[in-house]
């Protein structure tokens, strides 16, 4: 589904990604772990080209997103993204946040878009918040709305950029629960996370990034129970 080929990214002189290649299959739940500054978020943001790769290719459903004549906006509609800081639109109600993109970009009629949004809100237990503004919600509620906002575009893959890192500890669970359900439904997901429990339990593949390269990758069992490299061993010793 997404084929990343020899991805490099520099910020001026700083080399953040130094040749990352990975293939994400349909239905994969891939967690990306690693110390801060390892390039995890940059890697994720390169997948939908929020960051422009310095070199390398991102092949998404057969199209090279780094190509010159590519219609990025069209492809981004199929890649939902959830941010650490939620990034809900504060001037719109929850329902407005959810229906804005489908109505604008897919020309979905208002009643259809709202019906779909309400169904999804129901699923994450926030139907009663539909007409509230984002600032009245808790962090966990905001992030669940943000997930639903991405889902309303009916994406083929969901990208999560540390979705629980800005949350109070007691709200992490409710967001992870939604993500687990999503994974159980077969959604293809790429998750940058510090939640090792989630990675171990929900993902089917884990990649460990350090200093801009994939140091190790494998199943959660391989990564967490049988780490090979010293680098991963010392990382796990610190976080587990």
């Amino acid at each position: 589904m997404i084929n990343v080929k020899d991805l490099h990214k520099n910020f001026e002189d700083l080399e953040v990604l130094r040749g990352v290649s990975v293939e994400i299959e349909k239905g994969d739940v891939m967690c990306v772990i690693g110390p801060s500054g390892s390039g995890k978020s940059t890697f994720l943001r390169c997948l939908n080209l929020l960051e422009k790769p310095s070199s390398g290719q991102i092949i998404f459903e057969g199209d090279d997103l780094t190509g010159k004549d590519i219609d990025l906006d069209q492809h981004r509609q199929k890649m939902g993204m959830v941010f650490q800081q939620f990034n809900l639109f504060p001037h719109m109600t929850v329902l407005g946040n959810l229906t804005c993109a489908p109505m604008m970009l897919k020309k979905t009629p208002k009643d259809v878009a709202e019906k779909k949004a309400m169904e999804l809100l129901e699923r994450v237990g926030l139907a009663d918040k539909a007409n509230e503004y984002p600032n009245t919600l808790s962090g966990g509620q905001k992030q669940r709305v943000a997930i639903v906002r991405a889902l309303c575009m009916e994406p083929d893959v969901m990208l999560f950029d540390e979705p629980t890192s800005a949350l109070d500890p007691e709200m992490v669970g409710e967001v992870l629960e939604v993500m687990k359900e999503l994974a159980a439904d077969g959604m293809t997901m790429v998750v940058v996370t510090h939640e090792m429990g989630f990675a171990r339990e929900v993902s089917n593949r884990v990649i460990f990034l350090d200093e801009g390269v994939i140091v190790e990758q494998g199943t959660p069992d391989e990564i967490f129970n049988h780490p090979q490299s010293d680098r991963l061993k010392s990382f796990l010793a610190k976080v587990l």
Partner: protein
Amino acid sequence: MSAWFAKLNETFIASGYYRLMLDGFKNTIIITLGALAISIVLGSLIAVIRYLGEDVPAMKPIVKVLTFYVNVIRGIPVVVLLLIFYFVIMKASEGLVVGIITFGINSSAYMSELIRGGINSVDKGQMEAGRSLGMSRLQCTRRIIFPQAIRYILPAVGNELIALLKETSVAGYVAVVDLTRAGNLVRNNTYDAVNPLLLVAITYLIMVFGLDALLRKMERRLARNDKR
């Protein structure tokens, strides 16, 4: 006190100069509003093009030209600009028209900067969220960024309007009888320096106070509707 009223009557009413003052007042309003219209249209255009063009290589030359324009206009005193337009660029035009255009162009440079500032004060994550959903940069700006930026922009536009109103007092340099020029003419012709200038100053003051009150009201309303 009654001596002062007699003097006022002599200077403005009996002499008929109140009509000149009214004309001047009218011209000041016309120049200010005309210039404001130009300033808002031109300023928004410059701000939006510079904002949207930031990441587009093909737009670079245009962005550079606009940045240069803003810097040049901001670096020249408005009186000098006015004289250049009146005596060089728009030789055949009436002073009033030259005034409207010059003050409009001058103000547009400041206006574009404050609109750009408002746009830039919206969190970067907002644009990223919009883009990640598949919106274009323009769609994001219109639906996501601008409605949020307007809250920062409006108060600043009000301040710019007040500055603009007071700046038009130099329109007399190019033979426009604005409020200031009218007062000065009356002073010259009546040998009464105190009252014409006093009247001019008080008129500006009342207008500025009025605008200020209006602005505060608007700001309060914006704050009340602020759902964040």
